[in-house]
């Protein structure tokens, strides 16, 4: 045994020894609970590969491509994760340059480089960006984000080449916010495309994109966008602060960020809006708001968002102002109906029958005759059935969804009335409430309204109009105290801001909207030049 020990090590034995050394070190790191990635790159290619292969063991998409570099036949390896890198680049550019072009180089010139990595960076790799890395942490992060990493034997540095690729949906019309008039492009799942859509609408260097990664496991790209000089600095700082405070394993959708940075997590009202529309984000940024893009979702967060923002749609700005104002007021009415519709019906029919005109009362009583439930139970049955239908319609495949709505309309609507389980008046009220809640353009806001409705229904059934008044007061108090990123939720209504009220429940013509909302923008308020009100050319008649 001892004789064998003295014999010089064979290549295989040497390799095994290297392996053991690295693995030992890995194990030690694991045991001591130290970040195993916080390692410098070894100068030995073998050691590096052993380490990486150990890390990526059982990850079948991890790929190493070993080759010899230049005339000197330096051992080199390109490591990458398959699928998220552009195969064409690897095959046609990187490997080609490194394996073939490197041989034909005038090596005399290249000998002036003492460092092979400098040579590769300067003369061989014709890529837009490459980065030099010497820590495994960054190398591994890079690889997982679609970089190919070149390791060269004898160098404790690596070259990281970003060639990410990913299957991306085409830019298409957003499904949640359709318009009659307005741009038909919507965000997609790729943050780069999303950012480019916004950049294409705001061509100023003041538009800033601050990017970083969030999520210990997901390492999701997050970008905070704002226009410097318009968005107040304290708002930007606050948003960045809140986002950077997040420590979470996975960020799949912007909704997760929203829940982690909103002001009041227990409020039924959302304080951050989301949109799929680049034009919406662009105009919000121009109002001094900040948006957060999250890779992998078409929904972009916009903050701060106050009450009136949730009752506005992009198209309001594109149509002529008479109609836009009309629709906005309708939406406010719809908000009230969606919130209080069934409760007012319950309150009036069980407590305040004297409030109904006699003839209407008679027909309501006639329709209620024979219904075995009290009004509250009747309303609950219908409302819950309606929520069933709605939820079922959303989750089911689209083709089945239609069948559900037909069955729902027939069974719940028609048959229940025929059978005398619910009254026609209640069906009308519930349907009206449902339609009214569809009028609210912001889905997240409508969800809150849908939920509060049930609470108010119970209050209405116990205390009648008094209960409703109580609920409305409680809501008002809550709304008044609610703040989103330092902005009162009810602005510009209270604290009143007359200039901003021009774009709230009504929408004044563009030429009359002189300034950006001052509750958002503090400094650069000028929105439109004065005297731009359109009028026919002057003096035509007098000249003749």
């Amino acid at each position: 045994m001892s004789k064998k020990m003295k014999r010089p090590l064979t290549i295989e034995e040497k390799k095994r020894k290297d392996e053991e050394e690295v693995l030992e070190r890995l194990e030690e790191k694991y045991l001591n609970d130290i970040d195993i990635n916080n390692l410098k790159v070894y100068s030995s290619l073998e050691k590096n590969l052993v380490y990486l292969e150990a890390l990526f063991s059982k990850a079948s998409d991890f790929n190493t491509r070993k080759f010899k570099l230049g005339d000197e036949e330096v051992k080199a390896t390109l490591v990458y994760v398959q699928g998220i890198v552009n195969k064409g680049f690897i095959n046609d550019t990187i490997l080609r340059e490194l394996m073939i072009v490197s041989r034909n180089q005038d090596l005399k010139l290249s000998r002036s480089y003492s460092n092979l990595i400098d040579l590769i960076e300067d003369r061989l790799l014709t890529m837009g960006t490459i980065e030099r890395r010497d820590e495994f942490t960054t190398i591994i992060d890079d690889m997982l984000c679609g970089h190919a990493v070149l390791l060269i034997d004898g160098y404790d540095e690596a070259i990281s080449i970003p060639i990410p690729t990913r299957e991306v949906r085409n830019v298409a019309e957003p499904e949640t916010e359709s318009v009659v008039r307005g741009p038909r492009e919507g965000f997609v799942e790729s943050i780069d495309i999303n950012l480019s859509l916004v950049r294409g609408r705001i061509k100023t260097p003041d538009l800033k994109f601050e990017s970083f990664r969030l999520g210990r496991v997901s390492k999701t790209d997050i970008t905070v966008a704002y226009i410097e000089g318009i968005a107040p600095q304290d708002l930007i700082d606050e948003v960045l602060n809140r986002v950077k405070r997040i420590d979470i394993d996975i960020v799949n959708e912007s909704g997760i960020i929203e829940q982690l940075i909103e002001d009041d997590p227990f409020s039924p009202f959302p304080q951050i809006s989301n949109t799929e529309r680049p034009d919406g984000v662009a105009s919000s940024l121009n109002e001094g708001r900040v948006s957060i893009f999250v890779d992998g979702t078409p929904f972009v967060l916009v903050m701060p968002s106050v009450f009136v923002h949730f009752l506005q749609a992009n198209e309001d700005y594109y149509q002529r102002f008479f109609f836009s104002s009309f629709v906005r007021m309708l939406r406010f009415v719809a908000f009230l109906v969606a919130l209080l519709g069934p409760s007012v019906y319950i309150a009036i029919t069980t407590f305040h029958q004297e409030m109904i005109p006699t003839k209407l009362l008679l027909s309501i009583v006639a329709s209620r005759a024979g219904v075995p439930f009290p009004a509250l139970v009747e309303a609950l049955i219908m409302e819950i059935a309606f929520e069933f239908l709605r939820e079922a319609g959303i989750r089911l495949p689209k083709t089945v969804g239609q069948a559900v709505s037909i069955v729902g309309a027939l069974v719940v609507g028609e048959a229940a009335v025929q059978a005398g389980l619910v009254s026609q008046a209640m069906v009308i009220v519930v349907a009206l409430t449902g339609i009214a809640s569809f009028m609210i353009p912001a889905y997240s806001f409508a969800l809150g309204v849908r939920l509060i409705r049930f609470g108010v229904m119970f209050l209405a059934a116990s205390w009648g109009m008094f209960g409703i008044t109580f609920a409305v007061l409680a809501l008002l108090i809550h709304l008044c105290s609610l703040r989103t990123f330092g902005v009162p939720y009810l602005s510009p209504i209270t604290p009143v801001d007359w200039e901003a009220l021009k774009d709230s429940f009504i929408k004044v013509p563009e030429w009359f909207k002189n300034s950006r909302p001052s509750y958002l923008v503090k400094d650069d308020n000028q929105r439109i030049a004065s005297n731009v009100k359109p009028s026919p050319a002057k003096g035509d008649d007098e000249d003749e």
């Binding site: 029958q353 004297e354 006699t358 006639a366 329709s367 009290p374 009335v417 009648g464």
Partner: protein, 415 residues
């Protein structure tokens, strides 16, 4: 460290707010839906009638309850069943409580907009009755108070011709009278209360009578078969005609249609629709009032009170069979004078009836004196009953013909 502290604070606050919320929810349960009335438990009283039975010395209260039924397929107000009930009692409250022993539904009065008082009860006095109604919070102050010349039982059983129920039928009659007819005058509970509370202001309100339909009944008849045994087309229908005059809440007598119209002129209550008609020799005229303004003013001369009534009326000619040339202003003036004379006649008749026959100050003469000469009113107040019939009213009527209608010249001349 700070964040940990804050977190603890938040947890504490949450626990507190959650327990507060739970407490609030408990309160909701505790109310047990106080004051709740489900709609299908209600018997909606459409009208209330009160009469006095002199033999039994008891009040008789009658209600017509509207019971909507679902038989015809849900919403649709036409499917109304009416249900009449009557009960007697020493007091009205007793009588109305006695009603409840016969009703399975909870009787509610807030949609009753009609109080009909029978002749006997009106003669006995309205004050007790109105006290009961005005005190009750379910009775609306804008309910009409009418006096029925026709026996109340039959009033309730009569046939609504157009509307589904009697209350809305009578309501329609009152509205129609106000805007299109002006030959009756009804007041609501609030005004009745005001007049009853004022000793020197006497009451007047609409008179309900019956009317036997002359034409064959229409479809609406068949829906309702309220009175057993009587063939539908032989039943009377309700009509509103003239007014009842009360003094100190006691029925004194009736005003006929012309007198009622005269009353409307004096009280400045004409809203339009009233007509003025006259025939002289062979000429015939009628005119519809477009607008009217009456001014009543008391005057004192030699310690004697007299009244000045100025009536200014715009009319449109509706019929003209005449030799006059209506395009000439002199002829129009002649016509205006004749019409004014006619209006004066209406007013004089009314004044005469109210002053001489009933001695009831339904015009509010006393109130007018009190407003203009409060001190002198104090002197004559006690003798007002004696003074009122002797008060002279100087009537000035000015009529202006505003429109001649679609044709200006008469097509026929009087023969």
């Amino acid at each position: 460290m700070l964040s940990l502290h804050q977190l603890k604070g938040m947890m504490k606050m949450n626990r507190r707010s959650i327990s507060l919320l739970l407490l609030l929810l408990l309160v909701v349960n505790l109310t047990a839906c106080a004051g709740k009335r489900e709609m299908d438990e209600l018997g909606i009283v459409g009208l209330t009638a009160v009469d006095w039975d002199p033999k039994q010395q008891k009040y008789e209260i009658m209600v017509q309850v509207i019971v909507p039924s679902r038989a015809g397929g849900g919403m649709g107000g036409s499917n109304i069943q009416l249900w009449n009930a009557t009960a007697t009692g020493k007091t009205l409250m007793r009588a109305s409580k006695n009603l409840r022993s016969r009703v399975s539904k909870k009787l509610v009065w807030f949609h009753s907009n009609l109080i009909i008082i029978g002749e006997q009860a009106a003669k006995k006095g309205l004050k007790d009755i109105i006290d009961f109604f005005a005190r009750n919070k379910e009775i609306r102050y804008n309910s009409w108070v009418l006096i029925s010349e026709y026996p109340i039982r039959e009033t309730l059983e009569s046939n609504p011709r157009f509307e589904g129920s009697l209350p809305s039928e009578i309501q329609g009659l009152i509205e129609n009278n106000k805007t299109d007819w002006s030959e009756s005058y009804s007041i609501n509970l609030k005004d009745m209360l005001i007049r009853l509370a004022d000793d020197d202001f006497d009451e007047i309100t609409g008179r309900l009578t019956n009317h036997r339909p002359q034409l064959a009944p229409e479809g609406t008849y068949e829906q309702l078969d309220l009175v057993k045994d009587v063939p539908v087309d032989l039943r009377d229908v309700i009509a509103l005609s003239g007014a009842a005059v009360l003094k100190d809440g006691k029925l004194k007598g009736w005003l006929d249609r012309v007198e009622s119209k005269g009353y409307l002129f004096i009280a400045d209550e004409i809203e339009g629709g009233a007509i003025v008609e006259y025939s002289k020799e062979k000429e015939k005229f009628s005119a519809e009032i477009l607008s009217n303004k009456s001014k009543l003013k008391p005057e004192f001369k030699n310690g004697k009170v007299s009244f000045k009534l100025e009536v200014k009326t715009d009319v449109a000619i509706t019929e003209a069979i005449t030799k006059l040339d209506l395009t000439k202003s002199e002829d129009i003036e002649l016509l205006q004078k004749d019409l004014a004379k006619e209006v004066k006649k209406y007013i004089e008749t009314t004044l005469k009836t109210a002053q001489q026959e009933y001695n009831a100050d339904i015009f509010g003469y006393g109130n007018a004196i009190y407003r203009s000469y409060p001190k002198k009113w104090e002197e004559i107040k006690d003798d007002w009953d004696q003074i009122f019939p002797t008060v002279v009213t100087d009537i000035k009527v000015e009529i202006i013909v505003k429109r001649l209608g679609m044709i200006s010249q008469p097509i026929t001349k009087p023969q």
